[in-house]
């Protein structure tokens, strides 16, 4: 019986010939990414254990992003501690203010993700990097500390679920709608502990950026990881970012999956996930009531990349954000910000009456720079709409694609983007 890409990557990194779901392994980690919130406790744990040297500074990429630029004294202290640690350990891959951005957008953009790797970060959306054929998963601070000390981490080999996606999307429908629809279908625990593997003609058509949106939200279905077998687009993307050599690992044709889904997306409409779970997706045609919006938020590790800004700008060009709605655009990285500026996208957003912030996780997790008041409603291109996610526990978050965020900002209520395209 064949093996999945996930089983093969984990086997290769734990010195085993063959692994099966349920096996407990200690695997060599290729990339340990650190952000501000979960790293500082890990540094305290290392200190408490007397670990003065990290395993290998070259494996570590440090990208403070949650409360960047520092939102208050406490978060400033956190990053100050990280900055001192980075210097002391001789870590060169450090993206401080000026090179900053959302860690999951920077990591692949700066060539730190290559197919076949194992990547960990103290952040649930680490599943993003599976879009490049890596095994990439979120962990906590203790795991992070253990990995920083030893370069290794324990894993239980997950069962894999295969999502074969075919068809072509209608205009105005995007990979965000596809993943919101999958989560609607299987629920927020539909892939609990599982590796979600995506393949099919539709996935092949997608850009690498659009694939990242899909893998990013694997965690919203409870998945351990999201993963896409590498293809020419993956290879071209990675080679444009780094000179590192890599070995391509693929699922066998006779690999075993716990469950297989076949999905055709040709008839899919824009999907909006209603509060308070990402699985509360509704087709836009099913929404009969007017849902008036106080805020529209475009950004995050899910949908703050250049392609997302281009899509939203196309809709906002020569239009105005509704006077009763605030629109916040947060390019996910410094490089994306610069490119968006060069392409005139920043002007389009500002002329439409939106504001463009510096890269940060910011309001996506209710940190800062766009917090909601009680009773306010926000449409957001982010990944979670839990109670209090973007501010007051009495506020509401509706998840959607960048296009739906843009069209809704114009109308001041949830609106179908297709009429603007």
């Amino acid at each position: 019986m064949g093996k999945t890409i996930t089983e093969k990557i984990l086997a290769k990194h734990s010195g085993q010939e063959n692994l099966s779901p349920g096996d407990l392994i200690n695997a060599e980690i290729d990339v340990i990414m650190c952000h501000d919130v979960t790293t500082t406790p890990a540094l305290d744990m290392l200190k408490a254990k007397g670990v003065n040297k990290v395993c290998d500074p070259d494996k570590i990429v440090v990208i403070p992003d949650h409360f960047i630029p520092n939102k208050d004294i406490k978060s400033a202290e956190m990053v100050a501690k990280i900055r001192r640690w980075v210097k002391e350990q001789g870590i060169s891959k450090f993206y401080d203010l000026g090179k900053h951005g959302v860690c999951h957008a920077i990591l692949p953009e700066q060539g730190h993700v290559i197919p076949g790797q194992i990547i960990i970060c103290g952040d649930s959306h680490t599943s993003t990097h599976g879009a490049l054929g890596a095994f990439s998963t979120g962990i906590g601070s203790t795991d992070l500390a253990a990995a920083l000390a030893t370069g290794k981490l324990w894993f239980k080999v997950p069962h894999s679920m295969l999502f074969t996606i075919t068809g072509s999307l209608q205009k105005g429908v995007y990979s965000k709608d596809v993943i919101l629809d999958i989560i609607r279908m299987i629920g927020v625990d539909g892939a609990l502990y599982k590796a979600m593997e995506f393949n099919g003609d539709f996935i092949k058509q997608l850009s690498v950026e659009a694939r990242m949106t899909i893998c990013n939200m694997a965690i919203e279905a409870g998945g351990k990881s999201g993963i896409i077998n590498p293809d020419q687009k993956t290879i071209d993307y990675v080679k444009s970012k780094t000179d590192q050599d890599f070995e391509l690992i693929y699922s066998d044709h006779d690999a075993e999956y716990e469950k297989k889904y076949e999905i055709n997306v040709s008839d899919l409409e824009p999907i909006i996930a209603f509060p308070n779970l990402p699985s509360n997706g509704k087709k836009i045609s099913e929404i009969k009531e007017n849902i008036y919006l106080d805020q529209a938020y475009l950004g995050s590790c899910t949908n703050g990349r250049l392609e997302d800004l281009q899509i939203a700008a196309e809709i906002l060009k020569d239009n105005k954000v509704n006077p009763d709605t605030r629109m916040i655009v947060v390019p996910a990285t410094t490089e994306i910000w610069k490119q968006a500026n060069k392409e005139g996208l920043i002007d389009i957003f500002m002329d439409a009456g939106a504001t463009v912030s510096t890269p940060t996780c910011g309001a996506c997790l209710g940190g800062h720079m766009g917090i909601l008041a009680g009773g306010e409603k926000c449409i957001s291109s982010t990944n979670r709409n839990f109670v209090g996610r973007m501010g007051s526990p009495k506020s509401e978050v509706y998840l959607a694609s960048p296009a739906t965020v843009a069209s809704s900002a114009i109308e001041g209520k949830i609106a179908d983007p297709r009429k603007y395209l």
Binding site: G138, S141, T142, W154, G222, L365, G388
Partner: protein
Amino acid sequence: MIGNAHTYDKNHINTDEIIPARYLNMDQEKDLAKHAMEDIDEKFIHKVQEGDFVIAGKDFGCGSSREHAVWALRGAGIKAVIAVNFARIFYRNCMNNGFPAIECDDISKKVQSGDKLEIDIKAGKINNLTKNEQYNFKPLPEFALKMIEVGGLMNYITIE
């Protein structure tokens, strides 16, 4: 372990509810504990006593990887969470902290807030002293028991 139950008969209680991100600029258990479960039950922190248990439905701890969720509960005095099942990273974080995350079918339907429970981790038994009922749970994996015994992953890796 003996303590009182705080039951939330609800699925998908997420880490944003257990400890909202607005408090993630702190990482000390005593600071986080003041805000434990704040967005799901403001009164939780006033009701909870050292040695108590949290009881919930399916998929407890879904969402973010923040280990602060485990620390907030532990800081508030909670000694174990018993749920139908757990989200992956939360479960992992519990194990790595040597904090018992116990999976027990229908537990949030069987145990009411205020019930006094006695838990035998190794035997996989919960004794509901208030209702005079017994529930069995799947004994924790050996790896998890080891973590509880040594006090978490950081101790485990150094003793290995």
